[in-house]
Point group: C2
Chain length 527, copies 2
């Protein structure tokens, strides 16, 4: 058993905590030495990606301290416990098995009387079979016509991850002849969300995927009713247009209201479910099961690297610990995720959930309050857009915000135009390279308004192209980074008690069981 | 002339700075007293909106201190200087006139030899005339067919604001028979952005709006070329499909490459340009000029209230100063914007730009470093989606993040479904009411993992429905809030020197004029 202790009790952390003065990035990146540093502070990842941390405020001394911390905190050991089936989700007393949806890192994991890897693979096979029938026109609408659109109805992890992955691959699929069906998403209980999406969908040729692990998520069931009403009004039979992704014990399983049901289980948290049936159904229908399988392969390849013990060769672990240094020692309160790829437009929103819902906690895995900051605020938008927007604060604001860039050498469509001697893709890459140096090194100017202090750290993940494989690897990187940070902070990253209280109070409002301020707010909103 | 001084030199601020211990929200909101507080801590806004700050950590003592601060900082006086045409943008030596695009708050403002209010109105009239001709089929494509789609090509303020406003009104327009043309947006220099959008657009029936004040924004010109290439490949004449929104002195003005050009000027910052021709062209084409005029009316009505001197009746000024108290005295580093309206899905991204680009500064308006924190990180997503995601950290994370809710009593489409005794719209409202109380009051629990500390402050802007008028009022509220905070911090909120350095370095990369670390990063990205 790994030694689960609070961060501040570890000798390695106490040593790290002495390193309060960040290194001088301008100095570190200057001249030829700077070029060498970029080559050295670089970790190969899966699928041709690499993690470059040359513009992070670390040197050999900090890295050695982080290596000791990784060792003393037993990060690799804890990950091994996790993938071998230990009860890591202490709050809900559950295993944490999303890695098994894409590979087998360790021993067979048995739960609920079955081998869980086999269970997840079986669901993938069932989804692939179903998607194939839809694509070949063997499963059709009542008029015998092919389905052309798939609409996911889900919220939180059943929405953000699959939506971000779909958007990430939509143009790639178009460019590579892999586009089988367009996908849309309904999530918000705001009735305008469902109404707005339905307004753009040809319902007669649409399959709706109802995604709810428990089969009781109120928003999702409400939106299901909204959709069913619309289908009935259009003279369609909802049972011929809907499938479910749920747990085997939910009321949605084995229910004749659905064409079929595909299963996940309690060991897959919503925010880690993109590689399970939750992402699998919509992505397999949209792009074909082969593309989804390639996405899983990319994630599995990156998981393998994440299981390595050598911090310098393990990008997610290193990224995690540099983040702990920035958060706990240097005191930076938030992190921006800045993909230079329009296809990753919703990837920051997915990471915002994955990270903030996992590590936005004040108690350790035993339910005891911790005395140190945990998960930071995560936000971001794609570059170059953000450059014309909130980068002002990132460059010249009074707080330092660590930055996480992502960039690719090739676009997805491959269509481009040469203006002023360079392609758009080259401009995109030039901008991200320039930003890294601008943030790190700053610029002197006698006019203080044009002066850039620099010392603003960033890392970048660079790849050749955003493909199903590299997207899988990218997702795995961040999932594992978050997991390692949770281990370091001694949190349970896999429950979410903080989202419960609002639900309880909302029920009271709807039951008119309120008084005082809550009643006043409810009245104001005409409940 | 108002007295432009740094925040920390003001006696009123020094008194406020003593109030480091926030009031007990649970106590303040308890029982009947709590209901009364909600009714009292509420400011009417324009268009039926109200700003409720009962769940902010303020009491009479804090409010009195803020009143003194508003007085001593001369906030109302400074706003009057601004709208009467003083040179408020000290960095670029420019007037700040976006309020004039929607009304006349004070004296006539003359600049460039013309009355600026008349100039902006004239542009609105020209746009209305052009849009009318397009809608009536008097301006058509070469085949004499009506245009059905409008595509805005712009970045930063030429993209985020107009896009957020379009999305905010799209479903309203559909429900109210005001949908004239669908709008799409191309912004990123990533060639996949233009390629992806063009893939979904019927170019033969599309008008493209090129938006660049200077006429030299590289991303925008690059995307224009991309679009022109695509039009030519489709056998279309770009000059018959494009209009420009630019300044009168730009190369895009009076240029036969465009069907027409509509003008803004140097006194309208990009992030404040939604009510100028930048928002006017796309919104008038999409929804008709009458709808755009209603949007302006809402903004103008709210501007009038923002010009009032009484802090307790001036929602943007009060919101601004409560924010200063939270940022500078209570030390909260970020703010979440959480609209309970799917239509406002990109409103937080627009505010992120408006706020962080305006007040993410470390020097005052005279270019001298300030000794206090200025603009916070702004982020957000619509509720209820966020509840199933990053709210975990907001409820139970180690940092306190002030929250800015927005909610409406009615949906835009008016389509709804009753599940478990309530409509979706009621569920939406119940959730936001519940969240306010959950954040403020928390919950005791012996299980520390289920314990909610509370003391997490929020405000809410409540309205009847999101309409053109209320959207205009909402936009004005936040624009003026940001302006007042800039005044309080003694910043120039209207320049953006922080976005320049990256541009300069990107040019060097593209010219291969680099060495060391910048060359290494550029090589990695195949520039």
């Amino acid at each position: 058993m790994a030694n689960w202790q609070n961060l501040d009790t570890l000798a390695a952390y106490q040593a790290l905590a002495e390193m309060k003065k960040p290194i001088d990035l301008k100095e570190a990146l200057a001249g030829e030495k700077g070029g060498k540093r970029v080559a050295e502070y670089c970790v190969p990842m899966a699928c041709g990606l690499k993690y470059v941390y040359a513009a992070k405020q670390v040197d050999e001394a900090v890295l050695e301290a982080l290596e000791k911390l990784a060792e003393e905190a037993g990060l690799a050991e804890k990950f091994a416990e996790l993938y071998n089936g230990a009860m890591i989700n202490t709050g809900e007393k559950r295993l944490v098995l999303h890695h098994l949806t894409r590979g087998q890192l360790g021993e067979d994991v048995m739960a609920d009387g079955v081998n869980k890897r086999e269970f997840y693979v079986r669901q993938q096979e069932r989804i692939a079979e179903f998607a194939g029938k839809v694509h070949r026109g063997e499963i059709t609408n009542a008029a015998g016509e092919k389905f052309t659109t798939v609409v996911q109805i889900g919220i939180g992890g059943s929405d953000l991850g699959p939506r971000a992955m779909y958007l990430a691959l939509e143009n790639w699929a178009k460019a590579n002849g892999a586009m089988k069906m367009q996908a849309k998403f309904i999530s918000n209980v705001d009735p305008d969300d469902a109404a707005g999406v339905l307004d753009t969908v040809d319902a007669a040729h649409a399959i709706f995927i109802l995604v709810s692990k428990s089969g009781t998520t109120l928003e999702t069931l409400t939106n299901e009713s909204f959709v069913k009403d619309a289908l009935k009004k259009a003279g369609l039979d909802p049972a011929k247009h809907m499938i479910a992704v749920t747990s085997e014990t939910s009321p949605l399983a084995g229910n004749s209201d659905y064409l079929d049901a595909f299963f996940m289980d309690d060991y897959i948290g919503g925010r880690y479910s993109s590689t399970s049936a939750v992402g699998g159904a919509v992505l397999s229908l949209a792009f074909g099961p082969e593309v989804f399988a390639r996405f899983l392969d990319g994630a599995a390849a990156m998981d393998k690297l994440a299981a390595g013990k050598d911090l310098r060769k393990n990008a997610p672990m290193l990224d995690a610990l540099i983040g702990v240094y920035e958060r706990n020692v240097l005191g930076y309160p938030s992190t921006a995720v800045l993909p230079y790829s329009q296809a990753l437009s919703r990837f920051p929103a997915h990471l915002q959930q994955a990270d903030m819902e996992s590590n936005g906690k004040s108690v350790n895995r035993y339910g005891e309050p911790v005395n140190y900051p945990t998960g930071p605020v995560i936000f971001g938008e794609p570059g170059t857009n953000g450059q014309h927007s909130f980068y002002q604060l990132l460059h010249q604001g009074t707080d330092i915000i660590p930055l996480q860039f992502v960039g690719f050498r090739k676009s997805q469509f491959g269509l481009d135009v040469v203006i002023q001697g360079s392609t758009s893709q080259q401009k995109l890459g030039a901008n991200v390279a320039a930003q890294i140096i601008a943030f790190a090194c700053g610029k002197e100017d006698e006019n203080r308004n044009k002066y850039f202090e620099g010392g603003r750290p960033s890392s970048i993940i660079v790849g050749d192209q955003l493909t199903p494989e590299s997207l899988g690897a990218l997702l795995s990187h961040f999932e594992n980074k978050i997991m390692f940070q949770g281990f370091a902070w001694n949190l349970n990253s896999f429950d979410q008690e903080g989202v419960q209280l609002g639900k309880v109070l909302a029920k009271k409002v709807l039951a008119h069981d309120t008084d005082g301020a809550l009643k006043a707010f409810s009245d104001m909103l005409d409940i």
